[in-house]
């Protein structure tokens, strides 16, 4: 196969599309996580959550580097120089942490943070497990590495989730409300967008329906143990981020995180 071979070109396009989904998901997710710095419920959580966000940003950088190697531009530019319409992340990760903002009166929602992080991390673990068998070697190598780090993240969020769900009445109520909000966008996390068929046919990762099923299988016993019902279906309330549909929250996130980069894109980091 040569570079001009149509199959080769198609394959590369599918790899690039999947990498954008993985990179953009982790990037915005890690950014939202980093916005909790100094605001977590207690000091140990501050250490833990910021460490998790740092790991996730490391995964992001690795995914963007793989895109860089495929000629998509520099990793810094891919992370900070693209507009919201070009982003392929799911809507769930872009939603704000709560009312207010980091610089002014943040009144963030810890229940939402716990549920979003737990459900997202579990979905990521299932994708990463599938990527271990990816036909694209750099991705299957990376998956082995990411999987080990995720083990600790998952353990952390699962603990918070089950403890708050079985805590006070108020905690339970808030957690159930947060769970509903996350389920309303959870389909977007699994979505593979308009490239789905090619991504799956080329053996890059399993189909989204299989990944969703594995997620339900994994979480059902946890739900049962805390007396929570798994909904019949999930949603994509604010659209499919894989196809460029986003909320104003993403625009705000990009404006904030790229502020320094936009001042001088040539500056060394």
């Amino acid at each position: 196969m040569t570079e001009n071979d149509p199959i080769n070109q198609d394959y590369q396009k599918a790899v690039i599309e999947l990498l954008y989904q993985l990179a953009d998901d982790d990037f915005i997710h890690a950014f939202r996580g980093s916005e909790w710095l100094g605001l977590a419920p207690h000091i140990e959580e501050d250490v833990a959550f910021s460490s998790i966000s740092q790991d996730t940003m490391g995964h992001t950088a690795m995914f963007y580097r793989l895109l860089e190697e495929l000629g998509e531009g520099s990793a810094d530019h891919l992370a900070q120089g693209r507009s919201s319409i070009e982003r392929k992340n799911c809507v769930l990760v872009e939603l704000v942490n709560g009312p207010g903002n980091y610089m002014e009166k943040p009144r963030y929602d810890w229940a939402f943070a716990v549920v979003r992080n737990y459900f997202y991390t579990q979905a990521k673990a299932i994708k990463i497990q599938s990527l271990k068998n990816s036909s694209y070697k750099p991705l299957s190598d990376a998956a082995v590495k990411v999987k080990m780090e995720l083990y600790f993240h998952l353990l952390h969020w699962k603990t918070w989730f089950t403890q708050l769900m079985t805590s006070t009445d108020e905690a339970r109520k808030r957690m159930e409300e947060a769970t509903e909000r996350v389920f309303a966008e959870l389909d977007g996390v699994f979505s593979q967008g308009s490239y789905r068929v090619k991504i799956v046919d080329f053996g890059l990762i399993e189909d989204e329906t299989i990944l969703r099923k594995l997620w339900i299988q994994e979480l059902s016993p946890i739900f049962q143990s805390i007396n929570l019902t798994m909904p019949e279906s999930f949603g994509m309330k604010h659209g499919n981020g894989r196809d460029g549909e986003h909320t104003g929250d993403l625009e705000q996130a990009i404006q904030t995180l790229s502020e320094v980069y936009r001042l001088n894109p040539a500056a060394a980091w």
Binding site: G58, K145, M148, E149, F152
Partner: protein
């Protein structure tokens, strides 16, 4: 030949983890391969954790150390994922170095139920409690020794079975 493989390994033994100055990157098991060309030395490094902010510092330190010891125009350090870093890559000398720094080396075994045991690096007691699975750097956890009443850190276990 501008240098032998052995000479380069020896240089790398002198490059310590910037945050744990009692352990070299060789003993941490981070060096994957050394390739010596006619004018260039290429070194492949395995990151312990992908988001570790010490990686660019380690890269710079390797380049400087090799260039200082060996007459070579180009030293390339490449971070690779082709082999995953696991905590059993740490050598015996590396484990001693960690302990000397007040960090418990990673457990050699993880039980089937996912549990592992850590001993106090100061007094060796097994009577310790976990304060935080996460710590000041990506690779460490925070613990407390109930026997000698010292807080301490431990390297997280990393295994492909996880």
């Amino acid at each position: 030949m501008i240098a032998t493989n052995e000479e380069v390994w020896k240089v790398l033994l002198g490059v310590n983890d910037p945050e744990i100055n009692t352990v070299s990157i060789v003993d941490l098991g981070m060096v994957e391969s050394i390739n010596i060309g006619r004018e260039e030395i290429r070194i492949k490094i395995i990151p312990t954790f992908l988001g570790c902010p010490a990686l660019p510092i380690i890269q710079k330190n390797i380049e400087n150390a090799v260039k200082e010891a060996i007459e070579v125009s180009e030293v390339t350090v490449e971070f690779v994922c082709s082999a995953p870093w696991t905590s059993d890559r740490i050598t015996e000398r590396g484990r001693e170095g960690l302990q000397a720094f007040g960090i418990s080396p990673p457990p050699r075994h993880i039980k089937e139920n996912g549990e592992w045991q850590v001993d106090c690096p100061y007094c060796g007691s097994t009577y310790v409690t976990f304060d935080n699975l996460f710590g000041p750097t990506a690779c460490r956890s925070i613990l407390y020794c109930r026997s000698c009443k010292n807080p301490f850190e431990a390297m997280k276990p990393m295994s492909t079975d996880m």
